[in-house]
Subunit: 359 residues, 3 copies
């Protein structure tokens, strides 16, 4: 049942060239550190050279310039990590849930569901929902009215899709994510005796997710206030991310875990947003921008590049001094100005003394 | 079926005055940027003047001092955003789930549920739960024993309410939120051979939520250790927020997404906590305090105002220098002291030279 | 039904010595601030002395050196908080869900479930799942194929366990947590016309959770890419935490809410990670390290201690100046060098003048 391929057979399918015994039989992928017999691993950074030397892998995928670092049978590729990804997909085909509707599923009579779909136990599908071909809906999912889910898209267990949501083809939504939740929109009002309180702005826009988008576990994507919140093609979102109302996330942008993107922010294409970074509302970020992890972006970014906002970490006692110094930076700057003035004045006096001396 | 109102009819209901054709027919609300025909939008900040000039909206809600900026029919209001919120509520009445109990719901015989309630599919309601009038419980919710939910309160799909929770009237809880989870309380203990480990402190307090509170998707509010965790009237919480045990959140305070509030913190009324801000445990924050997004609050705040703790963001190379400089701030400060001393000494010497010269 | 114990009976079970009336009857635990009659509280920090003086508790657990601060009956213990934790466990035994399988549960025929287990409503248990003795699975849980859950472990409502997950004995998993979600692994690829896109790395490792581990509400623990993600014995994780693929969390480490730990990070034993702290990928943190709340860890930490990276918070206007000064730190440092040079030059000139004067 399980797959076995020689290095030669692998390169016939995925390209690259073999160095060493072409008949080396590969049964699985493995990490350099813990590979089992029959595993192929990859090497793409010389900081792992020790692991390469000690690996129990049977073969390795490696760049041409690193090929000399090991005597193992190897596949030469300019991009070992991407090659490894494709090879791992080959050895580990995605699990296919059984086609058909499980017991305890509640489906509204007006929903349109292809025969090729798989619907897990205890799932609810409301009125006028449309599912394309080969859609997989995990157990415990709630798909609200008027939503659309495109071909081959897969929802893991316990996903919540709110009404009117549009999801493209070949997307993958992970457990606990909530798509199309009301945005956080309130306007301040006051009672006749001037007691302030908040009134809710109805959130009547949708979430529109294009094709090939992945959305991580427990991530929330809010619906637009009036216009739509949009996640463009090929964007990949990790776990526990908050995408607020009216945002637009550009195509092929990756966003790591714990990121928050505030309302109406527009993120460009091919951006990389590091974990726990935050982007304020109504900002716009150009294409190909990298935001370092943990960095708060407070202004729009017009030009591609890497941007960072992080306090360096220190032992706590050193940090206490640093924090005090930061709090007194203004005084330090003021003092610097005073010193500059004093030096100027001293220089003049000394200049005078010197010239008097010389006369 | 859909609502249509003239500007005059709108002002009869919501106040304000019309400038331009009072019979202008309004069918929907819209954004300045993407309004459809028949839409009314709002304008409250001159930085959107270009959008106002280009808008395809049929009318606009605008402040008296901005009325001259457009020739469109308009409603004059001192607070266009709040006016727009009320008008949007008029055009977009909240969805009303069908009254009654859906199939596949499990309800304990001792639960008290008004006939006016709506209970979604696959929901569980445990022993001694009480639901008031017109309560809506979405599908997939779990309402544990002895909980109380007041009139008109709405739970979206997949909400978890732990035992003994009290929720007031007119609240709105969004998908994936968990209310009344055990707080994170452990005491350090050790085995006879001094191996340290943690023992759990039972969390026997409750969560008590007052009226008109909203709680966002995947937000967690922990039960108190002994006393209760309390969210006061009219507070609004966004998505992915953590409220730890024993906290008290003041009335009408708004908390944006990704915020964490540690145990036993007490937040005042009418505060505004920006996204991803963090408040340490056992602190107390006065009324009317604004915390900037991403700011860590490390001490109690006694007086209203805006507080901030953020590293400015920079291009990565500039930041690298900044970070190095911050790490060396103590040396910079020390050096400044040395220079100050040297200058003082120089001044004295020069003074002496000058006075000698003059004698 | 409810438990009542005299101070003497308590010390017979839990140790410590009584000062004052040994027959004082205790019915419950309470906080110093809000204790009811018959409650016992604890005192371990002199900053709560005022609360101790005003308490309505009937008795108090207190350190020997603080015993003189109150005339109340008391139990003397070196560690009042831990003593209180054990006593609270005694007065508040954990709720035991009814043994047996609730209606509307879907269990695969190949699952192995002990008769001593409790399975809540609307739960799904897939093929080849094994549950040990006295396992409690709350309502709405999804336990995917081939997973194992050890004796006495408890899952609260709405927990998602992905396929092949291993969970030890006496663990406690809270609502909304997602264990074994695919890690966030993609490799960059390009179309023939050089359009970049991301391809998914199959995530074929598992999550392995050792004994006595707690995992908070809406926390996510991702499965390993190839090797396993591991949470060692006795580790305690709070709510809304992200543990990325291939991480290893050391035994008895506590992690507070909103923390993010990036891929392949290895955290030592007995560490304390403060709320909203972030640890970058591939780092390793020694045993007994404390990370302050909100701190981003950017490099490995080899030695135990406390580490911090936080901007001090200030009133917003003061912060604006601080931020500007931080952005200009490089200029400040440069200017400092210029001033140092000038002073050096001045000193030389003055020295010369002085020596000339003296000659």
């Amino acid at each position: 049942m399980s797959i076995q391929l020689t290095l030669q057979e692998i390169t016939e399918q995925l390209g690259g060239t073999v160095t060493g015994f072409e008949g080396t039989l590969i049964k699985r992928v493995g990490s350099l550190g813990f590979a089992q017999a029959g595993a192929i691993s990859f090497f793409s950074d010389i900081k792992y050279t020790t692991q390469l030397h000690n690996t129990t892998a049977s073969a390795v995928i490696i760049k041409p310039e690193h090929a000399g670092l090991t005597t193992l049978p190897k596949i030469i590729s300019d991009n070992p990590y991407t090659y490894f990804a494709r090879l791992s997909q080959l050895f580990n085909p995605e699990y296919v849930a059984p086609i058909g509707v499980q017991s305890t599923v509640v489906i509204d009579a007006t929903a349109r569901i292809s025969d090729s779909c798989s619907i897990g136990a205890n799932t609810l599908i409301e009125a006028n929902v449309t599912l394309g071909e080969n859609v997989t809906i995990g157990p415990g999912c709630m798909i609200e009215r008027n939503s659309f889910i495109g071909d081959n898209t897969k929802l893991e267990a316990n996903v919540t899709i709110k009404h009117n949501t549009q999801i493209g083809r070949n997307c993958h939504l992970f457990s606990g994510c909530v798509i199309g939740n009301d945005g956080f929109g309130y306007a301040e009002s006051a009672t006749p005796d001037n007691q302030k309180y908040w009134i809710k702005i109805p959130q009547i826009g949708r979430v529109v997710i294009h094709n090939y988008v992945d959305i991580g576990a427990n991530t929330t994507v809010d619906r637009g206030t009036i216009d739509d919140t949009i996640i463009e093609e090929g964007a990949k979102l990790d776990n526990l991310i908050q995408i607020a109302h009216n945002c637009r996330i550009g195509a092929h942008t990756v966003i790591a875990g714990c990121v928050g993107i505030a309302g109406s922010a527009v993120i460009g294409k091919h951006c990389k947003i590091g974990g726990a970074a935050m982007i304020l509302g109504h900002l716009s970020i150009a294409d190909n921008v990298t935001i370092s992890p943990g960095s708060m972006v407070m202004r729009s970014i017009q030009k591609s590049g890497t941007y960072t906002a992080l306090m360096p970490f220190q032992e706590h006692d050193a940090w206490l001094k640093t924090a005090a110094n930061i709090r007194h930076l203004s005084q330090l700057t003021d003092k610097m100005k005073q010193l500059t003035d004093k030096i100027k004045s001293l220089e003049e006096t000394v200049e005078k003394l010197t010239s008097q001396r010389q006369t």
